[in-house]
């Protein structure tokens, strides 16, 4: 069924003209048949009039039908387009309505005025003077005929009276001939029993003898009759006698007079016939004029539709293409060979499309390279939408998180929670800006330590998306931990080995003296015991230091005036050594900083201790505080011998010392305290000499 319908629609589209022509011919044939069947008996003039009227009606109706069809079709089409919001429909509707108003209104007014004028003009043809003249001709001919009949009837009466008075038949014939000559009759006849007794005819008018005989008995007894006889008209009158015979008197009107009367009468008759056809003539003229007006309207409307299409089609094509381009469907150019302003617009648009094509190609190339890089690197990269609801990842991220589906399609962030990555999801969802932190997660039951960096895309206020970089620190931390334990074991062994040697030597010396029974035994044993006790005490102090470093309590931060804390520390070192000055420089101005005062005091004490020990020849130790952006800076500078190692970071390692004494955990404790406060500490050379320790702490809470 659908196939038949499609075939019929295609056939109808292809043969629309043929179908229309066929229907037109069918209508014409039917109309013509009806027309001629109804007009068979009509005279030629009336047939022409009716045929012309019919053709004009058909022409006008056809034009009206075509106009209505075109108008209704286009109006319905425009209304539907407006209803569906198709671009250009409003403009085309306005254009079409403007054309209708501009053309139909004046043309209708012109048609009404013209029809009225035509009607008045035809009415003027039948004005009273013209009608009077036409009737006068008819009446003149009638008058001449009646006058002639009257005269001939009188003559017939006179002749009949004379014949009645005649004594016998011979007398009647003589009287008849005498009166024929006397009266100047063209024809005189005497009849009895339907037989012509005598017929006297003017020799010039012998055609009168061919007229049919007036038969008797006649009723009425006397009468007259006019008949055509060739180019003339013969008026005959009869009068019956008492004995049943009758006389007939004929008079032939002059041919010239008859011709003139004929012309007048024909004019009058033609006028009356025309008057009878006056409505048809008026209708024909009005219909013809209406047809002309309809042709004008039709041409104007067709032109309006054509112009509206020619105006809107290029614009619609341009708009449709721009919409497709804007929707990202395609990057096609508008194939519109226009040379006007629309052509300029199309040219600019096509240039923009070509430029976009180049940029798209470049962007695709860049994206390809980026995909290759993201696929090759070992850092996991996650990309999220602005609301952080969906996530995709590169192969490294999929491997790190144990979710292979991340590398192939976009998944909901909730799926990561289901997969046991809740810590990572929380870190991603709670990030208000660029953040970096380490998290231990268990993807697939395997513990991994990841450094997670969350970065918003396109600004922190209204991010267009988020990127999360995942760095696997598991192996690195494990290696660092092993290295730290190795170093700690080496240094502990070194620290323990140092006192063990003198202890062993003191014990061996005392043993040797005891074996020899030396006399100075009483002197040697106390000396050896003293040495052993001292080194054991040193080892005890070292173990206590280890214990303190290992058992450093967690920080308990609270707002505290840092300047006051520094002042207390500096006070402790006033006069600690001759020639040494401890000075403070407060750049905080009573600012409170979120710190653990006890731990920070210990860190500062360690640093000042180091500075005092380094300032062998005296000098100045400066404890300075300052604000740098959102950080609080604490500097402890001395004027001692300066750094004795190339890498100052080694000094922060536990049990590392260049002084040959002490536990070697002082700077390690400093670094741990500062790190627990979220800050950093470093050592650098002081100018012109000495060392400067710089602590940077977050000071936003101050």
């Amino acid at each position: 069924m659908t196939g038949w319908r499609r075939r019929w629609q295609r056939y109808r589209r292809q043969n629309r003209v043929l179908v229309a022509l066929y229907l037109l011919l069918l209508a014409l044939a039917g109309g013509g048949y009806l027309l001629f069947s109804r007009m068979r008996a009509l005279p030629p003039e009336e047939l022409t009039n009716r045929l012309l009227t019919f053709l004009l009606w058909w022409f006008d109706l056809t034009l009206i039908a075509i106009l209505l069809f075109i108008l209704l079709r286009n109006l319905v089409k425009l209304l539907l387009e407006r209803h569906h919001g198709i671009l250009g429909s409003r403009f085309r509707t306005k254009l079409l309505l403007s054309y209708l108003v501009l053309i139909v209104v004046p043309t209708s007014a012109l048609f009404i005025l013209g029809a009225s004028l035509l009607s008045q003009a035809t009415a003027s043809w039948f004005a009273a003077p013209v009608e009077g003249m036409a009737r006068t001709g008819t009446e003149l001919a009638e008058g001449v005929r009646l006058d002639s009949e009257s005269r001939v009837r009188r003559i017939a009466g006179v002749v009949a009276a004379a014949l009645t008075r005649a004594a016998d038949e011979q007398g009647r014939l003589a009287e008849l001939e005498r009166l024929h000559v006397l009266m100047g009759n063209d024809f005189t006849g005497y009849y009895r029993n339907s037989i012509a007794v005598v017929e006297l005819v003017d020799p010039r008018l012998r055609t009168l003898l061919r007229l049919p005989t007036i038969e008797a008995p006649l009723d009425p007894a006397a009468g007259s009759r006019s008949e055509r006889a060739g180019p003339t008209v013969v008026v005959r009158a009869w009068e019956r006698l008492g004995d049943g015979s009758w006389v007939v008197i004929g008079d032939a009107l002059p041919e010239d007079l008859v011709a003139a009367e004929g012309r007048l009468a024909a004019g009058g008759a033609a006028y009356e016939r025309l008057k009878l056809e006056r409505p048809t003539v008026t209708a024909t003229m009005v219909l013809g004029f209406g047809g002309l007006a309809l042709v004008v309207v039709f041409a104007a409307i067709w032109l309006g539709l054509y112009l509206s299409r020619s105006f809107t089609e290029p614009l619609l094509a341009l708009v449709a293409t721009t919409n497709r381009v804007a929707a990202g469907e395609t990057l096609e150019e508008v194939p519109l060979p226009a040379e006007d302003e629309v052509g300029l617009l199309v040219g600019s648009f096509n240039a923009m499309v070509r430029r976009l094509r180049g940029q798209e190609k470049e962007m695709r190339s860049t994206l390809g390279r980026l995909d290759a890089v993201l696929g090759a690197i070992r850092t996991g990269v996650l990309t999220l939408d602005a609301d952080r609801l969906t996530v995709t990842g590169n192969p490294a991220a999929a491997a790190l998180l144990g979710l292979p589906v991340l590398a192939t399609r976009t998944v909901a962030l909730e799926e990561l929670t289901v997969a046991g990555l809740g810590k990572l999801v929380d870190a991603i969802q709670t990030a208000a800006g660029p953040t970096r932190a380490s998290h231990t997660i268990q993807p697939g039951g395997v513990s991994r330590m990841l450094e997670v960096a969350v970065v918003p895309l396109g600004g922190e206020n209204r991010p267009e998306g988020w990127v999360v970089a995942l760095e696997d620190l598991t192996q690195l931390v494990r290696a660092q931990r092993q290295a730290a334990w190795s170093e700690a074991a080496r240094r502990i062994a070194h620290q323990i080995k140092n006192p063990l040697t003198p202890i062993r030597l003191a014990a061996e010396r005392m043993a040797r003296h005891v074996e020899r029974g030396a006399s100075d035994l009483e002197e040697v044993v106390p000396q050896g015991c003293r040495a052993i006790v001292e080194h054991v005490q040193s080892m005890q102090e070292m173990v206590d230091a280890f214990s303190r470093f290992a058992k450093l309590p967690p920080t308990s931060r609270r707002p505290f005036r840092l300047g006051e804390l520094i002042g207390q520390v500096a006070t402790l070192y006033h006069g600690v050594r001759p020639g040494l000055v401890v000075r403070t420089t407060d750049g905080l101005g009573g600012r409170e900083v979120l710190v653990d005062p006890e731990q920070l005091r210990q860190a500062l004490t360690n640093l000042v201790d180091n500075a005092v020990e380094a300032s062998v020849g005296g000098g100045e130790i400066v404890i300075a505080t300052a604000v740098d952006g959102e950080e609080v800076v604490i500097e402890v500078a001395d004027q001692g011998q300066g750094l004795e190692v190339a890498d100052a970071e080694l000094l922060f390692q536990p049990f590392y010392s260049t002084k040959g004494r002490g536990s070697g955990v002082g700077l390690a404790v400093v670094q741990r305290i500062v790190t627990d406060h979220g800050g950093t500490v470093r050592l650098e050379a002081n100018a012109p000499r000495g060392v400067r320790a710089v602590i940077r702490l977050p000071g936003g809470e101050g």
């Binding site: 008996a41 029809a115 009356e272 016939r273 048809t280």
Partner: protein, 166 residues
């Protein structure tokens, strides 16, 4: 009472008298116009312009299976023209294009009477089992409403049942 009133109204309104005489396969139709003829028609006749009265005869049968109930259509055209020189009216009656009768009249009234009482027209009637009826109308001339819309001046259509020939 109501039926009588309707019959009287119909009789009063009838402008065309129709008399039918049935014969085997033939039907003789006698027509007579009883209404006043249009003034311009009569003036044209008196002035010598050819005028005519067209009697349209249509034979119908009840054919339920066809939308067209008409069996046959006939046209009786009665024409008259006065010779202004002789004052004689030439009369002719044609049934479907064939002359049925002709004559002459010496006066307008005689000519009008001849035209409004044309000679009987015999039309063929098909053999049938169903009842037939004849619809007749007389047309005098064509006028136009609003200048362009044709309007035929004539009598109303008169319907008569066709009796079977005895």
């Amino acid at each position: 009472m109501l039926i009588c009133a309707l019959l009287l109204a119909a009789a009063a309104a009838s402008e065309l008298e129709v008399s039918l005489v049935s014969a085997p396969a033939r039907l003789s139709v006698q027509l007579a116009v009883s209404r006043e003829l249009p003034a311009e028609w009569r003036q044209a006749l008196e002035a010598g312009a050819p005028v005519s009265i067209t009697y349209r005869l249509r034979l119908f049968r009840n054919r339920r299976w066809l939308w067209d109930q008409r069996l046959a259509g006939h046209e009786l055209l009665v024409r008259a023209e006065r010779d202004p020189l002789t004052g004689v009216f030439t009369l002719a009656a044609e049934l479907d294009g064939e002359i049925l009768a002709s004559g002459q009249a010496a006066s307008v009234d005689e000519a009008v009477h001849w035209m409004t009482h044309p000679p009987p027209a015999e039309i063929p009637v098909p053999l049938r089992h169903d009842p037939l009826w004849l619809v007749v109308r007389a047309e005098f001339l064509t006028r136009y409403k609003l200048l362009v819309f044709p309007s035929t001046v004539g009598t109303d259509w008169v319907t008569r049942a066709v009796q079977e020939a005895q």
